[in-house]
């Protein structure tokens, strides 16, 4: 407290001056010096009290006692470093995953989009009004967007976005980035400001870069506005840098660039061809409602405009009804729900850690009974003692929080490495935002209250008589067995809840793995994606035949196939074909351009007919669902259909396969032989002899050699590809098991502690029994049983909570496994084995009892 020393000295001098003056006055009145000084002091009053009163005016006394309490707490912690370390470690182990998971959820679910008045933002989509439509909901196509934009009066602005991948060439490096092509008014409609720059430029091709891209690739240089960037071989001027908190409107996909439609349509004929199609249903239409228009009125206007469109463009729009919805509000709600579930589960882990620390502190309260009794004898109030305990708890908790935050940082740095490799890489940047700090601070307070209050209350109980006697035999009888037992039961229950939930998640995961995906992920196949863009990023078709020839020459390769789209690649589901059948409405089906024998290479079964062959220019394959729709009698092979205007003959029917996710319901799908030199990215599938993993390096190098200048975006085995599509499920399973095992680890230490305490309490009794001839085995059984009884109680309580909880989760989350015998058995077995291990060590101490020593000690 050096900073307040001058004030103290000042007051001291002031008082001394005062007394000196009074003394002089008194002497002037004729008193003797000693008398004068005494009278002056009497007149002044209690100097210490005056100083205290003045200090309290300064407002430092409260701070002073708090500082003293903290110093005292630190001293007490230093005095028993072992137990303090155990307590801090327990808490830190719970804090680290808590903070890490919360900060991920904060970033994904809680951070609101930095959009002006998000309540006014609606999305517009189409609903297919036919009862058996292939797609119930369809995004609005670009021409439809333009019509909506011209007609709708309820909205102050409409804007359109579509996601794409693009190749950026920068400083001699090429990189694939995700971008959003948007209408020129995008940032105005959403009300998102630029961090720097004017935004999209009018007179030349321009783009806006994300803050992340600017920092990552452009070194955050301030002079970047007006410079150019090469995207897909074309030069764009950087018109602006977005603010750091605007990462696009998608939760998981953060675009690095925004490019206006008008520019890209002019520069890329292929893109223009897609965008001109009224039946090219992709993209998102955002609309900002006028503040004075009720949402219902706007919805009615959207419907009526979509009816006009249906009349004007019957071929494409006859069955499409426009409707509005508020995705941002829905998203906020679901985000809060998901976060609450997460916080609850993490809270269980924290509760286990708190119970552990409470047990440790209770034991410590026992050790301090003598000290406490002395202080009480000297007049320390209970409130004062409780306060000291609580300060110590907060100090412990704060140290643990510091460690936990550091641990969370480490966990989060590991995170990007866990993400599956993708063609368009994901850049996750995590930082601890204000909500995370607040969460960590509340964890400190809540946990300190949870684990500190009971020991504080118990440890400050007035207990002079037995406390002052230094009598270990008496004090052991006072070990807080009932409270600690209750804590252990709760810990075991919590560990069981987490492990049982982990079992259910594992069950859900394995159910997803058992789903029929229509191809065989175990086949020895290696996949590699070759991007159809040149060195400068401009489109360049892949010479597929040349590549196939070259790959076929790799020793051990049995078959080479290719396709523009493969199942479960996550990036788009191929193209949409316009299907015309005589006597029926034309409609859309999902389609894929593939090479010969592609399906066979993936192990997709042909139900009838044959796979595509190199000469099959006019042939097409359909899947079982489409075949059934075309010919319910089951004779689809040989029929002719019109796809995108060209007559094609069905040569084979293949089993239904999933395409986007493993949960896809069967959708009608057609596969045609890719045109001779079509552009776009190509995935090559190589069937090999032996382990496909061994071929990945050769595959990459041969692809680069066959098509110098093109980029190999990703290469993995078919099995990896399949596993990557289940990334979320696998991560959830691992996370749950990690939490459960962590909880169990904490529980074991607690259980071990209490069994040891129980043993210590009864050691004299055991010694007497041993002396009277009891078998050690029998007594070991008693100790073991006391531990196991607690574990069994905890297990029962845990199941009583976990089973209804699982049923509730299953009712909330589609496909979640509500009940599973393996989950029940596995979790119970793990908990019981852990309990036996924890209790066995103290039980074995029975063998070391020397009856003579203990009885003599009396």
């Amino acid at each position: 407290m050096r900073w307040r020393r001058p004030a103290e000295e000042d007051l001291e001098r002031d008082i001394a001056d005062h007394i000196a003056m009074e003394t002089e006055d008194n002497m002037a009145r004729g008193m003797s010096p000693a008398e004068a000084r005494y009278a002056a002091l009497r007149k002044f009053g209690n100097i210490t009290r005056v100083k205290e009163d003045t200090r309290s005016v300064w407002g430092w006394t409260a701070l002073d006692t708090w500082c003293a309490d903290v110093r005292h707490a630190l001293r007490r912690i230093r005095r028993s470093p072992g137990t303090a370390a155990l307590a801090v470690l327990s808490l830190a182990l719970a804090f680290a995953p808590n903070v890490a998971v919360f900060s991920v959820m904060d970033r994904l679910f809680l951070t609101p989009l930095p959009i002006k008045a998000p309540g006014e933002i609606f999305a517009i989509q189409f609903r297919d009004t036919r009862p058996n439509a292939n797609f119930s909901y369809l995004p609005v196509s670009y021409p439809d967007f333009q019509d909506f934009r011209r007609s709708l009066k309820s909205f102050s602005g409409l804007t359109y976005q579509i996601g794409k991948g693009a190749m950026v060439a920068l400083n001699g490096r090429r990189m694939i980035v995700g971008l959003h092509v948007v209408s020129e008014n995008y940032f105005d409609v959403l009300g998102v400001p630029m961090q720097s720059g004017p935004g999209f430029l009018k007179n030349r091709p321009s783009l806006i870069v994300s803050h992340s891209f600017w920092m990552r690739e452009l070194e955050g240089r301030p002079d970047i506005i007006g410079r150019t960037l090469l995207v897909n071989g074309q030069t764009f001027t950087i018109g602006g840098v977005a603010t750091p908190d605007f990462r696009g409107t998608d939760r998981f996909f953060s675009p690095d660039l925004w490019i206006p439609f008008e520019t890209l349509l002019r520069l890329q004929p292929g893109f223009l061809a897609d965008m001109e199609r009224r039946d090219f249903h992709a993209g998102t239409l955002w609309a900002r409602l006028r503040p004075d228009v009720p949402p219902a009125q706007a919805a009615a206007e959207v419907e009526s405009v979509s009816r006009e469109l249906a009349e004007r463009w019957p071929a494409t729009n006859r069955y499409l009804a426009g409707y509005t919805y508020a995705p941002l509000a829905d998203r906020e709600r679901s985000g809060i729900t998901l976060t609450s579930i997460g916080v609850f589960l993490l809270g269980i882990l924290l509760a286990v850690a708190c119970a552990n620390v409470a047990g440790i502190l209770l034991a410590r309260a026992e050790e301090r009974r003598h000290e406490t009794a002395i202080r009480q004898a000297l007049g320390a109030s209970r409130a004062r003692l409780v306060r000291e305990w609580m300060v110590e708890s907060v100090v412990l908790s704060s140290i643990a929080a510091a460690l936990g935050l550091a641990g969370a940082k480490v966990l989060m740095n590991l995170l990007p490495g866990l993400l599956p490799s993708m063609v368009v890489p994901i850049h996750f940047e995590f930082s601890f935002g204000p909500r995370v700090w607040l969460y960590a601070a509340s964890l400190v307070c809540v946990s300190a209250l949870c684990f500190g209050l009971v020991p504080a209350w118990r440890g400050s109980r007035p207990d002079l008589l037995s406390g002052l006697r230094r009598d270990s035999a008496v004090s052991i009888l006072h070990v807080h067995i009932p409270v600690r037992s209750l804590l252990i039961v709760m810990q075991v229950a919590a560990a069981e809840v987490l492990l049982f939930s982990a079992g259910l998640v594992l069950d859900t995961f394995s159910a997803a793995q058992r789903l029929d995906i229509g191809f065989d992920p175990h086949r020895p196949v290696a996949l590699a994606v070759l991007l159809g863009t040149g060195e400068d990023g401009s489109p360049r078709p892949v010479d597929r035949e040349a590549v196939c020839d070259r790959l076929a020459r790799i020793a051990g390769v049995r078959r080479v196939a290719y396709s523009h789209s493969v199942p479960l690649s996550g990036s788009g589901a191929g193209v949409r074909f316009r299907l015309e059948v005589p006597g029926r409405e034309p409609r859309q089906v999902m389609g894929v351009w593939a090479g010969p024998a592609f399906l066979s290479t993936l192990g997709v079964r042909m139900l009838s007919g044959r796979d595509l062959e190199p000469a099959d220019r006019q042939a097409v394959l359909v899947n079982a669902t489409l075949a059934r729709q075309l010919d319910p009698a089951g004779n689809a092979v040989g029929r002719e259909i019109r796809l995108d205007g060209a007559i094609r003959q069905i040569v084979g029917v293949f089993q239904d396969t999933v395409w986007n996710t493993v949960y896809d319901p069967p959708q009608p799908r057609a596969i045609g032989l890719a045109p001779a030199r079509s552009g776009g990215d190509v995935t090559f599938a190589v069937e090999v002899a032996g382990n496909p993993r061994a071929y990945l390096a050769a595959l990459r190098s041969e692809l680069t050699a066959a098509q110098p200048g093109l980029t190999v975006a990703s290469s993995k085995t078919l099995w990896q590809h399949y596993q990557d599509s289940l990334f979320m499920e696998r991560t959830a399973t691992q996370l749950f098991y990690a939490l459960g095992l962590l909880a169990l680890l904490l529980t074991i230490t607690g259980l071990h502690g209490i069994t040891t305490a129980l043993f210590a309490r009864r050691s004299k009794e055991f010694a007497i029994r041993l002396a009277l001839g009891a078998a050690p085995r029998q007594i070991m059984g008693t100790v073991l049983a006391s531990g196991l009884k607690l574990a069994a109680g905890g297990l029962a309580l845990g199941l009583a909570i976990a089973v209804p909880g699982g049923l509730f989760m299953a009712s909330q989350v589609h496909g979640f496994s509500a009940w599973s015998v393996p989950a029940l058995g596995l979790s119970s077995a793990i908990v019981m084995v852990a309990a036996i291990t924890a209790a066995a060590q103290p039980a074995r101490r029975v063998l070391r009892i020397q009856p003579g020593d203990i009885v003599r000690a009396e």
């Binding site: 000042d10 007051l11 001098r13 002031d14 008082i15 001056d17 005062h18 000196a20 003056m21 009074e22 002089e24 007149k43 002044f44 009053g45 209690n46 100097i47 009290r49 005056v50 009163d53 003045t54 309290s56 005016v57 300064w58």
Partner: protein, 120 residues
Amino acid sequence: MSTHEEKERIEFLQGTLDMLVLRTLLLGPAHGHAIAHAIERNSDDVLQVEQGSLYPALHRLIRRGWIQAEEGLSENNRRAKFYRLTAKGRKQLAIENTRWEKFAGAIARIMRPAEQEADL
């Protein structure tokens, strides 16, 4: 603790000491000892200040910005800390003054109602 003794001591009404200090300083800067004596003398020794209690009051007034402390020399050439009324303190004194007059008047009306009736 000498709680018994404390109860017997005649204490100033809450806040009165502050007002008296301000009033005293209106005449010019003074050190602590001088202030205590001024209060005693000006009240014809009716008000006996326990001189020590002056210091918490002085520091409270400094905190509120009504007075400020400065170094100076006392009448017999000793170095001492002088307290001076600030502009804010001057305003405060006016407020306290009015409040005190109202308060004293009210008390007086309650304590001497009979005399007033007799006057009628």
